[in-house]
């Protein structure tokens, strides 16, 4: 049971990341590869503040969200001047910068040695030590993020974002300040990624910079592409699929000498097949 609960917790963390990233990529059409950076900032804020400064989880998470908000607002201002491939390249650059800072700012992050003993959240004396209670808490945040996604999707703000996605020039001509919209959604998405990072750090209880590399950002991007862009349900399905598929392959009883390689081969082949048959993703409403 614990194994499935563990998968459930990781699903919740990835679902939070997928929902937040899909707001930028799906709703707004901005190909952001910076998500691993914000995920990392959120995780490190919790890790540092809880282990070295005596913060509780919620306080540390709020600081992480604030830090992500400020960083994303500043970076978002710069990013909003770019479009398409350029936006992706610049956002990938941010991811590389943050990874380098996490790896090299040893006095703060402990560099490659990582940070141990990160605590669990507590509310009014109740500690979320058990995996089941942690899963319930993480799931609550997924529901909140899902609701926020749907709310934005149906709001005038969401419609402006979708208009920007379809035709930025036309949207500007209608009087919308697109840079403001781009910057706002990017900041909101980064704050949400910070929450996912906080949960990850607390659950794993140990973090090092390897979990927040650009490759992770690409993995998050794959989740929403497979699940479907601009769809809250697609984000959740994408996260679930990319998490459970490799786990299911572990039970195929492949010969152990080649099991790891075969599992990755099958996993890769399934993704290629999926993109070939359904390029817009399972529940996608938009294609990059």
């Amino acid at each position: 049971m614990e194994y499935f609960i563990n998968i459930g917790i990781l699903f919740c963390i990835y679902a939070m990341l997928a929902l937040s990233l899909n707001m930028v990529v799906g709703l707004s059409g901005l190909v952001s590869l910076a998500h691993a950076a914000f995920y990392g900032i959120g995780a490190y804020a919790v890790a540092i503040l809880m282990t070295a400064q005596g913060f509780n989880f919620w306080g540390a998470m709020c600081v992480g969200m604030l830090l992500n908000g400020i960083t994303a607002f500043i970076v978002g201002k710069i990013l909003s001047k770019f479009k398409g491939d350029y936006y992706a390249i610049v956002s990938a650059g941010l991811s590389v910068i943050v990874f380098s800072v996490l790896l090299n700012f040893k006095s703060l992050t402990k560099g490659p040695l990582g940070i141990y003993g990160i605590g669990k959240p507590a509310i009014a004396g109740f500690h979320f030590y058990s995996s089941a209670s942690f899963l319930a808490l993480a799931f609550l945040f997924v529901v909140l993020f899902y609701a926020l996604f749907v709310l934005i999707d149906k709001s005038s703000f969401g419609r402006a974002l979708k208009s920007l996605r379809e035709d930025e020039v036309l949207t500007v001509s209608l009087g919308y300040k697109t840079t403001k919209y781009k910057s706002l959604i990017f900041t909101l998405s980064a704050i949400m990624a910070g929450v996912a990072g906080s949960f990850f750090a607390s659950y794993i209880a140990f973090i090092d910079p390897t979990s927040f590399q650009l490759a992770e950002g690409i993995f998050f991007f794959t989740m929403i592409t497979v699940g479907g862009l601009s769809s809250a349900f697609g984000s959740v399905v994408g996260a679930a699929l990319l998490l459970t598929l490799p786990e299911a392959l572990r039970f195929l009883g492949l010969p152990y000498e080649t099991a790891a390689q075969l599992q990755q081969l099958i996993y890769g082949a399934l993704l290629v097949l999926m993109m070939a048959f359904r390029p817009q993703g399972l529940f996608g409403k938009f294609r990059v």
């Binding site: 614990e2 609960i5 209880a205 390897t210 099991a259």
Partner: protein, 361 residues
């Protein structure tokens, strides 16, 4: 769309319904060992070596009389922390593993609290003693503190007064350097000049080597791993430097050892000559790629279970902690420290005719 969902559902269902690898019927009680290693990706050479080591170990072990049967289950963590946690849970709860084996301190650190919580024995190949904290965690270590002390003593013995350091931003090398720095600060007999930090993917050291050449330290301490050390030493030779390079495990995995001809270094409890020969015969490989540490781990586990004559994990660990200094492992004799730290003994080696030769133990 429907076809696609059908295919995916079939894969998921097939995976979920597949019957677990049933242990072979045996009169002896079975000890399940779950090994979590990187089996694919950049660090897959570690997983390959670990598989070889397990096969070689049990090929010999099964010839002897033993009280338990050992079943080893390998899982690939893809070098990812999140995977490590999931796999530990799978091995504990689905496979009902009695022992978990992990490699590298950061991956051991993820499993360590889980082992405590689930009362499962965890043997880690790690350098950080924090991984060994708690009742159920044991680390098989290359003894970084001992190696750092030994390196310091050797530098003083070789008349070093001023050194420059090149250290990779990786857990093992950083831990080693931290121990060395601490020792140097305590003893005050050696001046650490410039410290250059390099990222694991860095490939151009020419500017750094030029600066080192200008500084003229007595030694260059290189805490680098393969394949970076190969690139570093090639550029060192091309740059015409003559300042000797040394460190811990510096040339152990250097493929072209002619680049470090005549240089000495501290090696971390290296594989015994007997083990290296055995490994070469069985696998045809020139390098053991840390296989000796997996052999060390398997020996510790089987030694504990066979010696304690019970599957009670606390008794097994207690037996290991109290008796394992009697073992002769693939890395030679070991020492046991409190709280489950089993250490190999460092040696001094010199590259002579492109071969590492032990010159002091």
């Amino acid at each position: 769309m429907k076809k696609l969902i059908l295919i995916l559902s079939c894969v998921l269902a097939l995976g979920a319904c597949k019957d677990e690898k049933a242990p072979k019927a045996s009169a002896k009680p079975v000890v399940k060992i779950g090994v979590i290693y990187p089996m694919s990706g950049d660090a897959s050479f570690l997983g390959e070596a670990a598989k070889n080591a397990v096969n070689i170990f049990f090929e010999e072990f099964n010839k002897k009389l033993h009280k338990f049967d050992y079943q080893v289950i390998f899982e690939d963590n893809q070098n990812k922390l999140a995977k490590q946690a999931t796999l530990a849970q799978k091995l504990i709860n689905i496979d009902k593993a009695d022992v978990l084996v992990t490699v590298m301190s950061n991956f051991g650190a993820v499993v360590s609290p889980m082992a405590e919580q689930n009362k499962v024995m965890h043997v880690a190949i790690a350098t950080d003693p924090a991984v060994a904290q708690g009742k159920y965690n044991v680390i098989c270590s290359s003894n970084p503190a001992g190696e750092a002390d030994f390196l310091y003593e050797q530098l003083i013995k070789h008349g070093a007064k001023h050194i420059d350091v090149v250290v990779m931003n990786a857990t093992g090398s950083q831990t080693m350097f931290d121990f060395f720095k601490k020792k140097a600060e305590q003893e005050k007999g050696l001046k650490i000049g410039q410290v250059y930090h390099v990222n694991p993917d860095e490939k151009d050291f020419r500017l750094m080597l030029h600066k080192i050449k200008e500084n003229q330290p007595d030694y260059i301490l290189a805490f680098l791993f393969a394949p970076t050390i190969d690139v570093f030493m090639k550029q060192y030779k091309d740059g015409g430097l003559t300042i000797p390079v040394t460190g811990v495990e510096t040339f152990t995995y250097l493929r072209n050892k002619t680049l470090s001809e005549g240089m000495w270094y501290v090696d971390a409890a290296p594989p015994t000559d007997e083990y290296v020969k055995k490994y070469q015969i069985k696998t045809g490989s020139d390098t053991t790629d840390y296989a000796e540490y997996m052999d060390f781990v398997m020996q510790v586990i089987t030694f504990g279970y066979e010696g304690a004559k019970t599957k009670d994990k606390e008794k097994v660990i207690s037996f290991i902690e109290s008796q394992s200094n009697q073992m002769l492992t693939a890395v030679g004799k070991i020492t046991t420290e409190p709280d489950g730290v089993l250490n190999g003994q460092p040696v001094l080696k010199k590259i002579i005719n492109a071969e590492p030769v032990v010159i002091e133990e």
